[in-house]
Structure formats: C-alpha cells, structure tokens
C-alpha cells in the first residue's frame, strides 16, 4: 500500500525550523529524512510508539518541503510575504523565515566575491560546491539571492544598506553583508588570487563597508543613482595628485623624518620601518595613483597585500605597530608644507588604513 497523496495544511502555516534549514541547505527529501533520523527526531515527544521507521518523518518532511517550495516564490520578494493571504504566518516567524532564506555560507560567498553575477558564474557553481562542500542546490539559492538583491538595488537611489533593508526586510547586519557583496560584484575586485586566500569574507565585508562609506559617490552626495555602488570617479582621478609624495625626493625624505621622529622608541620594529619607509610609502601612493585604471582598481586588494602587508609580515610587524605607523604616516603628511592635498590624502589614507588593519592577520 502506498500513499499517492499525503498532505497536511494548517490554518497557521507550520514550518519546522530544522526541516527548513535542511531544505535551505539543499538536501533532498530522503537525505533530510535520514539526517533527521540520525538527529533523533523520532525520540521527540509526539513521535509515539511504533511510528514506522521513517514513514512518519518522510511524510512530514515531504510536507514541509512542499510548503517551503510554495513559500519560496514569496521569499523572493519578502515584502509580499506580509501582504499575501495564502499562508497565515505570525510576523515574527515571517522575519525568521526571510532572514534564514537570505543567510549565506561565508565560505561560499568568499569564493564568489568580486565575480560577475552572471550565467557563466552560475554554471561554474558545481566547482564551488565541490570545493566548499555546500550542496549545489544551496549554492544556487545563495547565488540567486545575491543576484536578486543586486538587480533590485542596482538602479536605486539612496543608501545601499537602507535599500536592501527596505526591499528584502533583512536585519541590519545581513543587509550590510549584502551591501558588501553587491559592492564587490559591481566593482569586480580581485579576491581569488592565492595571496588573498587567507582573507575571509568578514575581512572583505569590513573593507567594503569602509570603501562604500568614504570612496563612493554617496560619500559626497546622497542623491544620485548607484551612489553606494560606484566609486567616486573624480576622487580616483584626483588621487594622481598624491604622486608628489613619492616623486618629490625632498618631500619623501621630509615625510620619512617626520614619521621616524614621531615613532622613535614607540615601536618595536623601528629599524625595519626606517629601512623600508620609502618602499612602503611608494607602494601606498602608487596604489592611489593607479586606481583610475579599471584593471588596477580591481587589483586594489592584491596590491595592498603585495606592497604593504607582505613586507610588514616579512619583518614581523606587530599589528599595534602597524596602526601607529599608519596613523603617523597619515598625520605627518599634514606637516609637509609643500603638500597641498590634505583632504584628498585623508580620504584616501583613512580608508586604506582601515582596510590594512582589517587585512593584517595570518
């Protein structure tokens, strides 16, 4: 005897948290059933004696999967969930469902960061799935989420995070993460190089937040399209003016002595710093000057690592020393009489400092 049809519909839509997660994780019904069996679902109260091994679970899981499947359409446009009449779900549960639907696996998003959210990328998801151990289904859902959010906010005015929150009803932190993902996908920063492998999604997300805050159009004008997605072109253009800091030998020496004076005795790697100062300064300023080129902009993080972080790591700078150095390095430039681009310099250096500090770890 087989059940051709087996459904359960509650007036209040019941969704088992555990099954929802299994569904989100992309497990098939039978995989989910065996996972639940292993997790001891049948020992819970209510399973009762003599419940056929798995039969009850199978029926239950199928049912939830169907519900999830029907809900998915609504989850694609979360504000609809609050207005739709088909499923009666308490508001707090709705929020939970949305949040978990849009939650993502950090290893997965790390792989995808900076890649174009295109069909081609989607096709390659099976490699990502194999690499991260996340089911292809789940990868696809997460990818589609990124793409959906990207599409939705691409052309909108106003702050990126607010737009994401408004259109997808996500909690603040999740909305910020999505903002970072959208930002990376738009600017296509290179994150896949071997040198960058040690960086986590969190590192990049933090950097993205600084970049969005200080380097985009939104940082100067809050009423333009794509204000938080595109970098401020004018600003990037102006950055070329910083070249003088390394091109003018006097200025470079003056800068060095100012920094050395300030730091003498305060950092443990003083000698290394002194020897390396010119290289480091050149590195940072050259990065700034090249940002107008799309290719170099994409390599922004690679360059930061190559030109600054790797030398420091080689000399075993403690993070606190790096912080002190960067602060002094930025501040001392103000004392240079011949240097006239103080505001520009600060806008550049503050963000770079924040990024470097975030990225400086093992």
């Amino acid at each position: 005897m087989t059940n051709d049809l087996d459904i359960f519909v509650g007036n209040t839509t019941l969704i088992d948290e555990e099954v929802y997660q299994l569904w989100l994780d992309g497990y098939s019904v039978s995989e989910a059933v065996s996972q639940r069996l292993r997790a001891g679902a049948l020992e819970q109260p209510g399973a009762g004696p003599g419940a056929g091994p798995g039969a009850v679970l199978h029926s239950d899981t199928l049912d939830h999967y169907r519900t999830c499947h029907m809900l998915e359409r609504l989850l694609h446009a979360p504000p609809k969930l609050a207005h739709q009449l088909l499923f009666q779900i308490p508001p707090e549960r709705q929020a939970g469902l949305i949040q978990r639907y849009y939650a993502f696996d950090e290893p997965f998003v790390r792989e995808l960061l900076g890649k174009k959210l295109s069909k081609g990328t989607k096709k390659d998801l099976d490699d990502v799935s194999a690499k991260t151990g996340i089911t292809l289904k789940s990868c696809r859902r997460q990818f589609d989420n990124f793409k959906r959010v990207f599409k939705a906010v691409e052309e909108l005015r106003g702050p990126l995070v607010d737009n994401i929150q408004q259109h997808f009803l996500l909690p603040d932190r999740l909305a910020r993460d999505y903002a970072a993902i959208v930002f990376f996908a738009n600017s296509r920063f290179e994150t896949g190089k071997k040198k960058l492998q040690y960086l986590s999604f969190r590192d990049f997300a933090a950097c993205a937040q600084h970049l969005i805050q200080h380097w985009t159009l939104g940082a100067v004008d809050s009423h333009v399209d794509d204000m938080d997605v595109d970098l401020d072109k004018e600003f990037l253009q102006e950055l070329k003016e910083l070249k003088v800091l390394v091109a003018d030998k006097d200025l470079l020496d003056q800068h060095k002595s100012l920094v050395c004076t300030a730091l003498r005795g305060k950092i443990s790697v003083y000698n290394e710093m002194e020897t390396n100062f010119k290289n480091l300064s050149r590195g940072l300023v050259n990065i700034a000057c090249k940002l107008t080129h799309a290719k170099d902009l994409r390599d922004f993080f690679v360059d930061l690592v190559e030109k600054f972080i790797e030398p420091c790591k080689a000399d075993r700078w403690p993070p606190s020393d790096m912080r002190l150095f960067l602060t002094q390095y930025t501040g001392s430039a103000h004392a240079l009489d011949a240097f006239r681009h103080q505001a520009l310099w600060d806008r550049y250096m503050n963000t770079v400092t924040a990024c470097l500090l975030q990225m400086y770890h093992d």
């Binding site: 459904i7 359960f8 169907r66 009449l85």
Partner: protein, 1073 residues
C-alpha cells in the same frame, strides 16, 4: 425594489503578469449581479492597479439578493484580441441581509481562477441598503439568521426551539450538459461554481421561508450538502433546526424575577411513566425489519439498527409503545410534528431528559435523471422515507425526538447510499414551541435568563438553576439529579424481549441505566465523567463484486447490515478495551466504491459515572485440548487485560475511589451511601435489591473460532494510544480537560492510498485501511508535537473511494493546548460552599487577589466542562469524580476565593462590555467593533493581514465571541492540466487547500471578523488522471464568521468594586452581549 446593492472596486495588488512584452498588466474589473454588469476603467500597465471606482449600484429584489452571489471578474485588457480573465471573486452578500450581522463587506479578496488558483488580490467594498417592505407576499426570507454551530450560539439565547427544517433543490450539473463538450474547462468550472452558489442561496432562502412560517428567526446547526449525482444531476440539500433566538444583552440580565417559577413548572410535569415497551438488545443489533421493495425508482431500504447499549427497534413493532407514547399529553406537541428532529448536538441543561441511543437508517437508491428540476419529488420522497424510519426507530426506543441528527450520502456511479442518524431522546417539552407552553417558557426565561446561557456560554453557568428547580425541571423525576438523568433508560425494561444488562444508576440509584450508551451528540454539560475521553474508531472494508444497476444495489444492500454489525462490534470492543462505558459524537460513514465498501465510525469514549463499570473482554477458544492453542489464547487474554489496565491508567479511569470523597457532602447519610457504592463494586451479595443483573460484572466474550476472529483480536490491539501529552476526541470538548490555553491550530490532512492489487482480501483491506488511519493519526501527533500538551478536538474523518483501489481519507480537526500542571489538580469546588465562604471570609479573600492571574480558573474561566461539573456536584452533593483526593484545606480556600473574585470580575467586565456593545449596536458606527479592534489600519497597504482563527469548534478557548457576522458557505473547484509541474497530486491539493483557507479567511476579515467557528469541510472530491497530467478537486466548506475578544482584553477593563457579590448568579449567568 426592496434593496440596493452598492459595490466599489478600490484596488488590486500582486496581479499576475499578463503581458509578456511589458511584464505588466492592463487590468479592469467587471462587477456582475444578476443580469446587470458594470465595468471599471482600465488601469494600464500595473500589477498594483488603483481603480478607486465609483459606487456601482444594483437595484434588486430581496429574493435576488438572497439567491445571487456578487460576481467580480478581473480581466486584462487587450486591444487586439479578446480580454483575458485573470480570475474571479464570488461574494455571498447574505451576511449583509440581517440586521445584527455585518453591515459592510470590505477588504482584500484573493482573485481566484479555477485553473491557476489565487492570482493576486482585489480590494472591494460592498454595502446593501434594504427597504422594509413587510406587507408584500414574501418570497424572500431576509433576516433569518443561519448558524453552522450545532448549539445555541454564544451571545444568543433560545426563546423557542421550533424544530427540524429541511429543503433540497436540484439542477442539471453543468459538467454534464452538452455544451460542456465545446467549452473550456475554466468555463465549465465557473458555470458549476456559479450554479452551486445560486442553488445554495436559493436553498437558504427557502429554508428561511420555512423558518418564518414556524415563526422562528434563525436556523441553528445548519448543514448544507451537495450530491454530485453525475449524469442525473446536482442536488443541494440542507437541514437545520429552526429557533427563535434573542440576542443577549445586559438589560435582560437584571430583570427581576417576576414569577414563582417552580409553581409554573409543576403545572406541566413531564410525564414519563415507564410503561411504554421496547424490544432491544445489543446482542442482535441487526433487525431485518424492512425488506427491499422495488419501486418505480429502484430502491432498497436497508435494514437498520439502533445503536444503543441496548439495541434495535423495528419499524414494524412499535404499535404498543406508540400508543403509550401518544397517551402522554406533554409529548403530543412533538408527536404532531412531522419529524421531531434536532440537528443540535449540545443543549441547555435540562433539555435532554433521557437519551435512548443511536438510531440510524440507510437506504440504497438507484439514481436516474431528474426530469424536472422544479419538482424534486423523488429525492424528497427518498429522504422522507428515511426520516420516517428514523422516527419510528426512536419511538421504538421510547423516545419522541431525535437529537444530533445528520444526513449524508455516498454515491458511486448510479448507486447512492442515503444515510441518516441521530440520537433518540426524550426532551423537556418546555423548551419546544408549544402554544400552551410558550407563555410559561417566556416567564421562565425572563425569570432566569441565565439558565439558557449554559448552552450559549459554555462554562459561564450560574449555579442555582439546578439546585432550585431541577426537581420541577425534570418533572416527576424529582429526585433524579441532573448529572445522570439523561442516562436513564426511556424505555421499559419489563418489556424487553432480549436479555440486556440494566442496572440502577450508579449515581442516583433510583433509575435504570443501560451498561453502555452510544450517542451522536456532544457530552451534555451536566454529565459526570471520570477521567479523560478518547477518540475511538471502527474501521472496516468489504470487497464487493462489480455489478451494474439493480444487481449492484442489491449487493450493496445485502452487505450493509453486516458492515453495520461489524462496526458496532468493533466499537464495543474498543470501548471496553479502554475501560469506558459510553460513546459520544458517534458518526458512522459508509462509502461505496466500484469494488468495495468502506465503513468508518468515529466517536469519543468516556466513562460516565452513572453507568456501570464495563467488564473486561474475555477470549474463548473453540479448539479445546490443544496445549499450544490454549497457551496462545491465554497469552492473548493477558495482552488484552494488560491493555485495559494500561488504558485505564492513561485515561485516568479509577472509579472505585469515589466513596471517601463523599464524606462531608450535603447529601444525607453519605457514609451509608459510600458503603453502598463500595459494596456495589466489591461484593454484590449485600445489596441484591439494588443490583439485579450486573453484580457478576460479566465480561464481554470474544470467541475465537477461526483466523478471521483472530485477526479481529489482533486489530483490536493494534490501535496505538496517542503519545504522551496528546489526547484526542471528536466532540467539541474533551471530558476531563478544562484549562485550555489560547493556542489553537486547525488543520486539514488528506491522504489517498493505493491498494496493491494483488489478491485483495477482506483481511488485507481491513489491515490496509486500519494502517492508513492509524498512520495518519501518528503523523498528526508528530506534526503537532510542538504544541504538547494538547488535545485534538473535533477530529472529523471522512472516507471516500474515488476509484478502484484508491482510498481517500480526509481529516479536519483542531489542536488546542492546555495547561498540564493545572490539569493535574483539577479543582472541583462545590459552588455553594465557595459562596458561603466568600461571603464570610472577606479578609481571607483580600489576601489572595493576586491569585487571579495564576489561577487556572482565572486564566480559563470559560472552560466549558469544569464549572458545569461544579454546578452538578453542588447540586447532587456528590463531588465530581475528578476531584483530586488530596486537596488540602488551605489551597482549597484559596481557590474558592480567587474563584469568587473571578465571578466578581467577570460580572463587572461583562457589564462594561455589554454597555459598549449596545453603543455599537446602533447602526451609527457600522464596523466599529471589527475594524476598530482588529483591523487598525485596514485600508493602508502597509497593514499586515488580519489574523483569522479557524476552528471546527463552536467556541474559541480563552476568548469570548461578541458577534456573529453570518454564515460562510463556499464552494470551489480547482483543476489543472499540468499536474506534474504543480508538484503532483500532493502539490496540487496542498496548494488548493491552502487557497481555500486563504479565501475563507479573507471573507471573514472582509466581514470585519477575526475567526470562523464551527468550520467544516463538507466535501473534498478529488479526481486525477495522471496519464493526461490532469487533476480536479471540488471543495465545500462552511462555518460561522465571528468577532471574538480575548478574555485577557476583557479583563483589562477596570473593575469597580461594588455590589456584584450579592448577585453572582444573575450576573454570572447572563453575561453575553
């Protein structure tokens, strides 16, 4: 022109994309009523159009208003080709036609398409202006209220219960008309939906007319069903109970007692001499009284049986008792009625004098085309025949009325089984319409309106009626307490032709009671039970040869008696296995398929204190002197005994412990009494004069003479009890649980099982069917495990055989949570005591005001059974059996006090509440209650959707129903031609049922309500054709839309500390508004 219907189309949202090119839609709306159609402008290129139309006005007859549904069609404008329909909304405007219900329908409705399901929503406002035109010859029955609820609705009181009303209308089924061959499935489905909507409107109007003729103003327990007879047509029929209802208001609560009621009562004592005979037995419940007769339409009347503990009446033999009955003047009123039937299942206390047992009748008919839809005589005659049979069965049981009455059909091809069943009962005529009685009744009611509120406000029972006038109430049975009166046999034991076990009532020791009692009604509120109840099901399949027409009908009618017998045996065995002695809410469904019959009986077993303790089940082998066999038998016997013991533990059935608790009760000579009781249960020799037949406690003997019987015994033992923390019943309330918490979850579950077609045998079938039901229950328990401790109430199974080898089982029920801790210390406090205490111990009382919040009574003051039990016990002096044996005095006092406090509170808040309602009753603020309270921002698109509770029960735990907004009766068809793409049959039906719920909720919300009570899914016909990738499903649901207010919200009203304690009775009794 007595009515003007006004409709405004406000907006749409979430519309589907109809124009692929632009990904948008150019939507407009057609509003149709009768033959008039209006259109809105096209709102171009939007999925969220804002039409904001003018008011479309339809000037129509009220007859038309009642029959026609308002039809709203949303279309996509197309310049070059025909406009595409997006979907429709049918709105039944009936709720707007009675004065006390809704005054406006306004809200978002799902736009429904029979092929695509819900496609967006539309915001509509509907109003009706009715002109009074009373002098005309009326064809309409505007103003008659309809309730699905099978008890007197809360916030009403019954002035008169008039009795049975029925009607049916027939028509051709559009699906079978010639035109169906050339039209689209969508058009055909819509024609059907519209026709059924029209027919139910017409039916309701006609029933309303009958009610007006009877001078009633409402139909309670309204049950409308469809028979899809295929080729031969479509029948829509309905039954109900006509009543005159009065809306309860606070003014009546404080009417002074104007008459000396007891005198009034005694003028017409209910004569109930035990002189009318009846032959009955449960040993041979089958009575082949009515043979088959061939009429113009082939018809076999199936021998029917009467389920009682005592068995069967027969149509042929009732001459004697009939005359005896006729002699009784007081009952003549009922006798004169064509069918003294009541579709109600719960009644005001005292209404049921005696309950005889279940009466049922079935008849197998051959369908043929209904030639003239305007003269549905054949179908009428069929039902009249069956009802006649039921009536005579009831008479045979010495009863003059049938309560808890229902009718059903099962159709397969051209064969149709008509079934009717109910509970034979003797009623207190005072509640019924009767020229001479009416005055008395009215006086009575005005003297103590609270009396009726038991039926209407479960739990909010005043405590005096029984103690004051139970003697007058029950006529000559002056000494018979209310808690057991209904168990006493209405028939004469001396004339019983079959040996049956009668004993003196275990409660009052005065009257005879049967050893088991089967009924179709809910447990009367005054009934005293021990322990908890449980769902008991009998399940049965029978193979049947495939046959045509008359041969088929004959085969079926030959099988039916055996099925009935087996169902009855199973029920009896399972009841005994649980150590219980009575069944309530019994519903037996027999469905016919191509090659088999399926029987499914569900009921709630309880242990009534008035009835004797059931004996065990004894197994007797037929092959003696076989060692291993004997061993096997004894092994089985042991298993059975263990099961019984275990069940008693699970359901907390421990009757012998009563005696000690009796000490100190107001009944004289309690000690002696307890002695009697004990001797009763332990040794029978002392009290032979009391116990004539039952001292031996004979066990029910099962003879195992072949493998079949063995199977039966095995199947008995396979019924797993619900897992810990779960209880289930199919009645409104679970006996023994009274502290419900407000969380409820209504659900529908459907399973279709395919039987493996290898050598089908009856045993295999039985096992499969049994497994199907058991597994379904197990699944439900598992699904709802997060609600533990909880009880599944009103578990309603329906079974159908849609095709060969397919069994479909659908369940609708509600899971209600309750408080486990407080369930343990069930506080049964004699009311009088508590009152006394309260009036003297003011100090103590003040010390425990905070108790209110945590007290079980405070959190659940409306719990139905509890206070009733209290009232019963206060009267009889026998403490309710559930009272914990070790309540120490102080906690007892606490409870009393907080409980009194509660009454005060209640009286206060209620008085406040009613004042408020009076204000909102005058029409100045139409939707005041509904909108203000529950839909704070109904029109803003940002508002979230109103939460609408649904429940098959007539009440909502922890809440108070403040207004009935009208009946919800909806019929939907859903069809698909892309079954696989929609997730197969499960995906298809899952979505459809969810859509049905959504549409019901939307209609309720639009009426301004926040719940549907007495919700029922009357039909769920599912057909599939996987080869063609097609499926179709028809669903019919109904219920009562209501506004409820949480108890906690009510109690937030500040309490004035004043006089109420002096008048707890009237205040507590007549509370509703």
């Amino acid at each position: 022109m007595p009515g003007k219907l006004k409709v405004k189309i406000v907006a749409g949202r979430h519309l589907p994309v109809m124009d692929r090119a632009s990904d948008l839609t150019d939507a407009f709306v057609e509003v149709k009523f009768g033959n008039t159609t209006f259109k809105t402008d096209v709102y171009p290129k939007s999925l969220n159009p804002q039409w904001n139309s003018e008011w479309f006005k339809f000037e129509v007859d009220d007859e038309e208003l009642q029959d026609e549904p308002l039809q709203i069609t949303v279309l996509d404008h197309d310049t070059y080709s025909a406009n595409d329909a997006i979907g429709k909304v049918y709105i039944d405007i009936d709720p707007l036609l009675y004065s006390e219900a809704a005054t406006v329908i306004s809200g978002w409705f799902p736009i429904y398409d029979t092929i695509h399901g819900i496609r967006g929503e539309i915001n509509v406002v509907v109003k009706v202006d009715l002109f009074n035109d009373l002098n005309r010859f009326r064809q309409s029955s505007c103003g008659v209220k309809f309730f699905c609820t099978t008890s007197i609705p809360k916030c009403y009181r019954a002035v008169v219960i008039h009795g049975f009303v029925e009607e049916l209308v027939v028509n051709e089924d559009p699906e079978y008309q010639w035109i169906d061959r050339i039209r689209t499935p969508r058009a055909s489905n819509e024609a059907r939906q519209r026709l059924i909507s029209l027919m139910s409107g017409e039916l309701q109007r006609k029933i309303g007319l009958k009610v007006l003729e009877m001078r009633g103003n409402a139909v309670v327990g309204y049950l409308q069903c469809f028979d899809l007879e295929g080729e031969s047509g479509l029948v829509v029929r309905a039954i109900g109970t006509a009543c005159t209802l009065d809306k309860l208001s606070s003014t009546s609560a404080f009417l002074p007692a104007c008459n000396s009621p007891s005198k009034e009562m005694k003028e017409s004592p209910l004569v109930h001499p035990p002189s009318h005979g009846c032959r009955s037995t449960h040993n041979s419940p089958i009575h082949t009284a009515t043979g088959s007769r061939l009429t113009q339409n082939f018809s076999v009347s199936v021998p029917t049986l009467i389920y009682t503990g005592m068995g069967s009446g027969s149509a042929g033999k009732e001459g004697g008792p009939f005359k005896a009955l006729l002699r009784q003047q007081t009952q003549s009123a009922l006798e004169q009625r064509e069918f003294p039937f009541f579709t109600l299942t719960s009644f005001p206390p005292g209404f049921l004098v005696h309950v005889g047992g279940v009466v049922s009748a079935r008849s197998v008919k051959l369908l043929d085309r209904i030639h003239n839809p305007d003269e549905p005589e054949t179908r009428d005659a069929w039902w009249a025949e069956i009802r006649q049979e039921i009536k005579s069965h009831a008479k045979a049981l010495g009863c003059h009325a049938v309560v808890g009455y229902s009718e059903s059909t099962s159709i397969c091809e051209e064969v149709c089984i008509l079934s009717a069943s109910g509970t034979a009962a003797v009623l207190n005529p005072r509640f019924l319409q009767d020229g001479t009685m009416e005055g008395c009744l009215d006086q009575r009611l005005s003297w103590q309106p609270g009396f009726f509120s038991i039926g209407s406000e479960k739990g909010e029972v005043d405590f005096f009626p029984q103690s004051q006038d139970s003697s007058s109430l029950l006529g000559i049975e002056e000494t018979s307490p209310a808690g057991c009166g209904f168990c006493h046999i209405p028939y004469d034991e001396l004339n019983m032709p079959f040996p049956a076990h009668l004993t003196y009532c275990y409660n009052c020791r005065k009257q005879k009671v049967p050893d088991v009692l089967f009924t179709t009604i809910d447990l009367p509120v005054e009934a005293m039970v021990i322990g908890k109840g449980c769902l008991i099901q009998a399940r049965l399949c029978r193979l049947k040869k495939k046959a045509q027409a008359e041969a088929n009908a004959t085969v079926i009618s030959n099988l039916l008696p055996f099925m009935e017998y087996e169902v009855h045996t199973q029920l009896m065995n399972k009841l005994k296995l649980r150590g219980m002695n009575a069944l309530f809410g019994l519903r037996i469904q027999i469905s016919v398929g191509e090659n088999m019959l399926v029987g499914l009986a569900s009921a709630t077993g309880v242990y009534l204190t008035a009835l004797p303790t059931p004996g065990g089940i004894q197994i007797a082998g037929k092959t003696p002197n076989d060692g291993t066999y004997e061993q096997h038998i004894s092994h089985m016997q042991k298993k059975i005994n263990d099961t019984i013991a275990k069940n008693k533990e699970i359901y907390e059935i421990n009757p012998p412990e009563i005696p000690e608790e009796i000490i100190g009760s107001p009944i004289p000579e309690p000690r002696q009494r307890s002695k009697l009781l004990r001797s009763q249960s332990e040794s029978s020799d002392e009290v032979t004069e009391l116990d004539l037949s039952h001292g031996k406690k004979d066990a029910f003997v099962l003879e195992i003479d072949d493998t079949d019987a063995m199977e039966d015994v095995h199947s008995l033992l396979t019924d797993a009890p619900p897992p810990p923390g779960f209880y289930s019943c199919n009645t409104e309330i679970m006996p023994g649980i009274n502290n419900w918490t407000p969380e409820i979850q209504m659900f529908t579950s459907v399973r279709v099982s395919r039987l493996s077609n290898i050598t089908l045998t009856n045993q295999m079938l039985n096992k499969n069917f049994n497994d199907l039901c058991e597994n379904l229950l197990k699944s439900l328990y598992f699904k709802l495990r997060s609600m533990i401790p909880c009880c599944l109430c009103h578990v309603n199974f329906t079974v159908a055989l849609p095709e060969d080898e397919l069994i479909q089982v659908a369940v609708t029920a509600v899971a209600i949570t309750f408080d486990k801790n407080q369930a343990l210390q069930t506080s049964k406090v004699p009311a009088e005591k508590s009152l006394q205490r309260a009036s003297t111990d003011n100090e103590e009382q003040l010390q425990f005001p905070l108790e209110l919040c945590s007290d079980p009574l405070a959190s659940q003051p409306f719990s139905p059974a509890k206070e009733v039990l209290e009232s019963a016990s206060s009267h009889t002096g026998i403490p309710a059996a559930q009272r914990a044996t070790s309540i120490d005095y102080s906690s007892f006092a606490d409870r009393c006090n907080s409980w009194i406090e509660l009454i005060k509170l209640k009286a206060q808040t209620i008085r406040r509440g009613s004042i408020k309602t009076i204000a909102s009753l005058d029409k100045a603020s139409p939707l005041a209650e509904g909108h203000a309270r529950h839909r704070s921002v109904p029109c803003s698109t940002n508002s979230t959707v109103t939460v609408v509770k649904m429940t098959p029960l007539s009440f909502i735990p922890g809440a108070k129903i403040t207004k009935y907004l009208g009946i919800i009766n909806m019929f939907f068809i859903r069809e698909t031609t892309s079954l696989r793409e929609e997730g197969g049959v499960s995906g298809f039906l899952h979505a459809f049922i969810a859509e049905v719920f959504a549409m019901v909720r939307a209609h309720v919300a639009a009426l301004g309500g926040n719940a549907v009570v007495s919700y029922i899914m009357k039909q769920c016909v599912f057909m599939e054709n996987p080869n063609k990738n097609q499926a179709q499903c028809l669903v019919n649901v109904s219920g009562d839309a209501v506004i409820f207010v949480r108890e906690s919200e009510l109690e937030m009203v500040p309490v004035q500390s004043s006089t109420v304690i002096s008048q707890p009775t009237s205040a507590g009794g007549d509370v509703t508004t």
